[in-house]
Structure formats: structure tokens, C-alpha cells
């Protein structure tokens, strides 16, 4: 079957006629009004589960309620979410070689800046990870900062050494999810439920998971930025 590219339809698709836009606006305004009305009718007394969280905060192992929710009460969400990250990376990698953008040589400024900033960013990430237990912060924030460091390095032209681009990189990428799953499974093996931390170990386990997650998130974000599977040495 021959495949025809109809230029007319292309131009048509590029431009949308004004009446249609107007109609669209009217409809969308209606939708916005409807949604707004729906939102505004919510009772101003929050029926949320805040008090539940507060009541169980002590046994959660951390004092920051958001972290408690993320990594204890609803840690299962977070587990799956680590999976989402990994899947996105797998997806990007499976797309094959993305045509390499024109290599712009990083100017001296960027080079210097990155040398300066990356250690700082790593430090900040470590801090955020630590502080997440009782104040705003945590694995995602730390991971993002770490990822930013990676992006900076990549922008500066740094590439992962081929020796580490194979299995070591993959291990790092899976660490977050892996530790999560292993912790859950071990807890199940010792007779508890999935991710049911013993209260005494809760803090430590959360920190362990968070640390692993931070590392993985950072690496994943940087790898996502790179866009294609790094050239690896011959696999084992």
C-alpha cells in the first residue's frame, strides 16, 4: 500500500480555525466552571486522614509526617513508583540510539562551575536525605539534587566510564527498587506483612531504603537526561 502524505491535510492540521477555538474556549470555560463549582462546594472542614497520621507518627520511625506517609504508611506506593522510574528509563533505553545532538563543547565556565557545584550538590543531597526524617526533605528531593549533579556533569561532557556502564550502572539503577523489594520480602519471611517494619527498626529501615532510593533516583534522572543506553563494555 502506498503511503501518501497529503500536504493539504498537513497544513490543515497545523492551523485550527478561529470558530473552533472559540467553541473550544466556551466548552473549556464550562468545564472549568463546573470543576471550580465542584471544588468550591467541598466543605471547608477537612475530613482528611491527617489525624490518623499524627496518631501513628511515633510508631512510624520518622517524625516528618510526609516522609512517614511516603515511606511507611503508604510505602507501597513509593515502591511502585520506583518501578515507574525504572520503567521510564527502560523505555527510553529501548527506543534505541537517539540521534546524538550536535556536540557543543562546554565552555570553560560550565566546566569550572560543574567541578565546583557537583560536590556541593552531593553534599546537599546527603543533607536532604538525612533531614527528611523530621523535616521537609527525603529521598526524592535528595535524588533530584543528585540527578541535577549528574545532569550538570553530562552537560559538561562527562561520560560514564565504559567499565561502569554495564552491570555496575544497572545495579545502581535497580538498587532503590531492589532494596525496597528485598526489605519487603525479608519482612514477609520473618512472618510480618509486606513492608510492616518492626517499630524499633523502622527508622533504620526507612533510612536504608531512602539512601538506596536516592542513589537510584539520581542515577535514573541523569540517565534519562542522557537519553540512550550508555556505551558499555562487553557484558559479563
Amino acid at each position: 500500500m502506498k503511503k501518501t502524505m497529503n500536504p493539504k491535510s498537513m497544513t490543515e492540521s497545523g492551523k485550527i480555525r478561529t470558530p473552533f477555538r472559540l467553541l473550544l474556549m466556551v466548552l473549556l470555560s464550562a468545564l472549568a466552571a463546573g470543576l471550580g463549582y465542584a471544588v468550591s462546594t467541598l466543605s471547608s472542614q477537612s475530613p482528611g486522614s491527617g489525624e490518623w497520621v499524627a496518631a501513628n507518627l511515633e510508631t512510624s520511625g520518622v517524625s516528618n509526617p510526609v516522609t512517614a506517609v511516603l515511606l511507611n504508611f503508604r510505602s507501597y506506593d513509593t515502591l511502585l513508583e520506583m518501578g515507574v522510574l525504572l520503567v521510564a528509563l527502560l523505555g527510553v533505553w529501548s527506543l534505541g540510539g537517539i540521534p546524538e545532538q550536535r556536540e557543543s563543547s562546554p565552555g570553560p565556565v560550565l566546566d569550572t562551575l560543574s567541578r565546583l557545584l557537583v560536590p556541593v550538590l552531593i553534599l546537599v543531597a546527603g543533607y536532604l536525605l538525612w533531614v527528611g526524617a523530621h523535616a521537609p526533605g527525603g529521598a526524592f528531593q535528595a535524588g533530584s539534587v543528585l540527578g541535577a549533579a549528574g545532569v550538570l556533569l553530562l552537560l559538561a561532557g562527562w561520560r560514564l566510564d565504559a567499565r561502569f556502564a554495564g552491570l555496575p550502572l544497572r545495579i545502581t539503577l535497580t538498587t532503590g527498587l531492589g532494596v525496597f523489594v528485598v526489605v519487603g520480602a525479608v519482612l514477609m519471611l520473618v512472618g510480618r506483612r509486606l513492608l510492616e517494619y518492626p517499630p524499633s527498626f523502622a527508622g533504620a529501615l526507612i533510612l536504608l531504603i531512602e539512601a538506596a532510593a536516592t542513589l537510584s533516583i539520581g542515577m535514573t534522572l541523569a540517565a534519562l537526561f542522557l537519553g540512550s543506553r550508555p556505551e558499555a563494555g562487553p557484558d559479563r
Binding site: 463546573g34 501513628n56 504508611f73 503508604r74 507501597y76 506506593d77 525504572l86 529501548s94 513492608l195
Partner: protein, 478 residues
């Protein structure tokens, strides 16, 4: 609570498998197959558990509903899990022969993630957790579609991704509204606290629309045929068989449990769209010149049937829709696999030239034919049982117009299935070198098709399983 949490294992095992495949790309295929067997065992274990002890609830982290996330397994989720296991095993076996080494490296981890997401989705009792699983599922599915490469597949995947994200966001906004209305995310709790309000209605509209978009209900089906037709065969199979069903499953759960709406209007609207899907999908399928497009449009039509249960709303109707879902999953997977074999063997899937290929792949053609029987809803097949239940429900409720739709849909299905089958009986000369198709690929398709047929003979058991935990609220529902 039973000693072995089979349900949790059904989620964790494929996750672990995915990581193992990712870490050891050379052994991806055997690792994947082992995982698949394990997941099937988990599903069987959960089935045994549920059948023995009734519906299961599992509080992750030990926190329980308002605070933590619960897993919930009743007849409905169990059946979804089981059909996923069967189709998943088939797809795994098929894929071990289908992909070359290079593609297999990418395929297996993604497929394992997708399987895990499916299992998690079917077991989840938390609407936000459902959102996460939905995203995991969607991203994995998009990545798998793109695996085929080429303009068609990539465009299809892109469209699919955008649609999937839009649907998820609509759903998430609905989740936000529901949470802020009732302060909980658990389905059972929501059902308890449910009170109608504009916010609930908006949430209902948003969530339904988002999920319908993902389920590809007419007229939101536009993304499905290109994506499903251009994907690699096993991916097409799992998309059509399982992935679109996942969002339908959520819709069903919400509809049955959360939204206590007996509002006939919305049900009729869904039914109407379903009817339109049945006819439109059938007509379009009939018009296609490529086999995989035909099968993809057939999926559009078959999905329409599922929505005919909404206006009927009776227990029998839900059972029928669910049964259709099960048998369609098996049959459509078999169909796409058979099409994949043909494509693999002959290098093309133009229907008009099938006579060059068809006779040389009798097993695949048999698989296609048997699956077609179920799609058409002819006895003895799961499709027939489903159609019977739906017809019965329609007759009982006096809404005879759905009967016409069901019958017309069946006729259209027969027309497009036999459009293909007809070529099995002429033998034209091969114009080019054929590629041998591994026996595993042919048998995987055939076995799935046979299971779809078998569903028509063992109906009482799945129907009895369906009743565990009364997901449809018993006979008086609706």
C-alpha cells in the same frame, strides 16, 4: 489471614523478575519464563486461597485502611489475575521465540514490570495506588509498543502515551476530589462514606472519562488500532488482551462499589457508546486490509460489549461482561499471536495475500479460527457464554435494543473473522522466501485459543469464582 500471601507474591515476583532480567540481559528469556511460571503458581495459590476462605484483604505495612494501603482479592480481581496469568504465560512462551536477542533484552524487563503492574492493579483497594499502578502499566505498555521501531509504531506509541497520560490525569483529579470529599482513598471506606455532592459527581465524570479514554471506548478508541497494530505481536496481544482491560476493571470497581449511582442516564450513555463501539469497530474491522489492524478494530468492538452491562446493571449482566472480558482476553491474545506468526512467516499481513501463507501455518490458522469462534460468540466458547448472559440480562430487563446490538456485533464479527479464515482454503504460490516459525509460537497461540473455547464448557466454575465476595452485590443489585 492465610499463611502465604500469594497475592503479594504475585506482585513482587514479577518485579523481582524484571530486575533480574534487567541485571542479566543474556539470561532474560529463561529468567522471564521462570518468573512467569512462578506468577502462574502465585495466581493459582491465590485462587485456591480465595476459593477456600472467601475474599481476602491484606493490609500492607500492617496499617489498615484509612492510613495504609490494602490489597483486596475477591472473585472479580481473582479472575482478572488468573486470566492475566494464563495469557501472560502464553505471551511469555510466545515471546521467547519471537524476539531476537537484541529486542529480548528490552522486552523482558518491561513485560515483567507490566505484569507486576497488572497484578498490583487488580489487587489494589486504594484509588491512589490504582493511579500509580495505572501509570506503571501505561509507561511500560508505551515502551513496549515503541519496541517495534519504525514510524508507525513510534507515532502510535506517542499517541498512546499522550492519551494514557491525559486519562491518568483526569483520573488523578477525580482522586483528588474524592479524597478531599471523604478523606480516604480506600474503596471500601469510600463506599461507606459516600454521599452525593457536586464534587463526587465531578470526580465521577473525570474518572470515568479518563478511564474510558484508556479503555478505548468509542469514540475514544482512535489511539488503539494504530498502537496495537504496529506493536510487536506479543505486545499487541497483551495490550489488547490485558492492558485495556485494566482500566475497565478500575471503572467497574468504582462503578460497582464507590459511586452508588443508579443514575440511569450515565449508564445508558455508556451503553450507547458501547453499542456504537460494537458497530463501528465491527465495520472498521471489516474494512481493513491488514490483519493486525483488523484484529485491533475487533478489540474496539469487543470492548464495546463490556459497556453494554452498564445500562443493564444486573448481576447477570456484570457476569456476562466479565466473562466476555475473560474470553476476549484469551481469544484476542491468541489472534494477535496467530497474526504475528503469519507476519513472521510471510513478512506481511495483507489480508488479500494471506492465501500464500495461511495454508502453510495450519496451527496458527486453527488458533485464529478458534479464537474467532469465541470473538463471534458462537458456541461452544467463552464468548458464547458471555453473550448468552448479556442477552439474558437484556431480555430480563426488557431493554431489547441491546439485544439487537449484541446480535449485530456478532454478525459483524463473523464477517470479519471469516474474511480472514476464507483464505485458509486457497493455496497460492509463495512469492518469496518464508521464515520458519518456531513451534512454541504456534502452540502458544493455539493453546490460548483452546482455553478460550474451553471457557465455554466450564462456565459454572468461573461464574462461581466470580461470586466470591459478591463483587456485583448479589442478585438484587442494579
Amino acid at each position: 489471614m492465610a499463611a502465604i500471601p500469594w497475592g503479594v507474591m504475585a506482585i513482587l515476583l514479577p518485579l523481582a523478575g524484571a530486575m533480574a532480567c534487567f541485571l542479566s540481559p543474556r539470561r532474560a528469556s529463561p529468567l522471564g519464563l521462570i518468573t512467569a511460571l512462578g506468577v502462574v503458581a502465585c495466581a493459582a495459590g491465590l485462587g485456591w486461597q480465595v476459593a477456600e476462605q472467601g475474599a481476602q484483604r491484606y493490609a500492607i505495612g500492617g496499617w489498615g485502611a484509612p492510613l495504609g494501603i490494602d490489597l483486596y482479592a475477591d472473585g472479580l480481581s481473582l479472575l482478572m489475575l488468573m486470566v492475566t496469568a494464563v495469557v501472560g504465560l502464553g505471551i511469555s512462551v510466545y515471546s521467547s521465540g519471537y524476539f531476537n536477542r537484541e529486542k529480548a533484552v528490552n522486552f523482558w524487563p518491561l513485560w515483567m514490570f507490566l505484569w507486576s503492574a497488572l497484578n498490583a492493579l487488580f489487587l489494589s483497594a486504594d484509588i491512589f495506588n490504582l493511579y500509580v499502578t495505572l501509570e506503571l502499566l501505561g509507561l511500560a505498555a508505551v515502551a513496549l509498543v515503541a519496541l517495534a521501531g519504525g514510524a508507525d509504531a513510534l507515532t502510535g506509541a506517542m499517541r498512546y502515551l499522550l492519551v494514557s497520560l491525559l486519562g491518568s490525569l483526569a483520573y488523578l483529579l477525580g482522586v483528588a476530589l474524592l479524597y478531599h470529599s471523604f478523606g480516604c482513598l480506600d474503596i471500601a471506606l469510600l463506599a461507606e462514606r459516600m454521599e452525593p455532592s457536586p464534587a463526587v459527581m465531578a470526580a465521577m465524570g473525570l474518572m470515568s472519562a479518563g478511564l474510558l479514554l484508556k479503555t478505548a471506548l468509542f469514540p475514544l478508541h482512535f489511539w488503539l488500532p494504530p498502537a496495537h497494530a504496529s506493536a510487536p505481536a506479543p505486545v499487541s496481544a497483551l495490550l489488547s488482551a490485558l492492558v485495556v482491560k485494566a482500566s475497565f476493571y478500575i471503572l467497574l470497581r468504582l462503578w460497582l462499589d464507590v459511586f452508588p449511582v443508579t443514575a440511569a442516564g450515565l449508564g445508558q450513555l455508556l451503553g450507547l457508546l458501547g453499542a456504537a463501539a460494537v458497530l463501528w469497530g465491527g465495520l472498521q474491522a471489516l474494512r481493513q486490509t491488514r490483519l493486525k489492524m483488523l484484529i485491533a478494530y475487533s478489540t474496539v468492538a469487543q470492548l464495546g460489549y463490556l459497556f453494554l452491562a452498564f445500562p443493564l446493571g444486573s448481576n447477570v449482566a456484570w457476569q456476562g461482561a466479565l466473562y466476555l472480558l475473560l474470553s476476549h482476553a484469551l481469544a484476542k491474545a491468541a489472534m494477535f499471536m496467530a497474526a504475528g506468526n503469519i507476519l513472521c512467516f510471510g513478512g506481511h499481513d495483507r489480508i488479500a495475500d494471506l492465501d500464500r501463507v495461511a495454508q502453510r501455518l495450519p496451527l496458527s490458522l486453527a488458533a485464529f479460527g478458534l479464537a474467532g469462534v469465541s470473538i463471534m460468540g458462537l458456541p461452544p466458547s467463552g464468548g458464547f457464554i458471555a453473550k448468552w448472559l448479556l442477552l439474558e440480562a437484556a431480555m430480563r430487563s426488557g431493554q431489547w435494543w441491546w439485544v439487537i446490538i449484541l446480535i449485530l456485533g456478532g454478525l459483524l464479527a463473523a464477517a470479519y473473522v471469516f474474511k480472514v479464515i476464507g483464505y485458509a482454503f486457497t493455496q497460492a504460490v509463495m512469492t518469496h522466501e518464508a521464515r520458519a516459525v518456531p513451534a512454541t509460537m504456534e502452540w502458544a497461540a493455539l493453546v490460548l485459543a483452546l482455553v478460550a473455547i474451553l471457557l465455554g464448557l466450564v462456565a459454572p466454575w468461573p461464574l462461581a469464582l466470580m461470586e466470591i465476595g459478591l463483587p456485583f452485590g448479589g442478585e438484587a443489585a442494579g
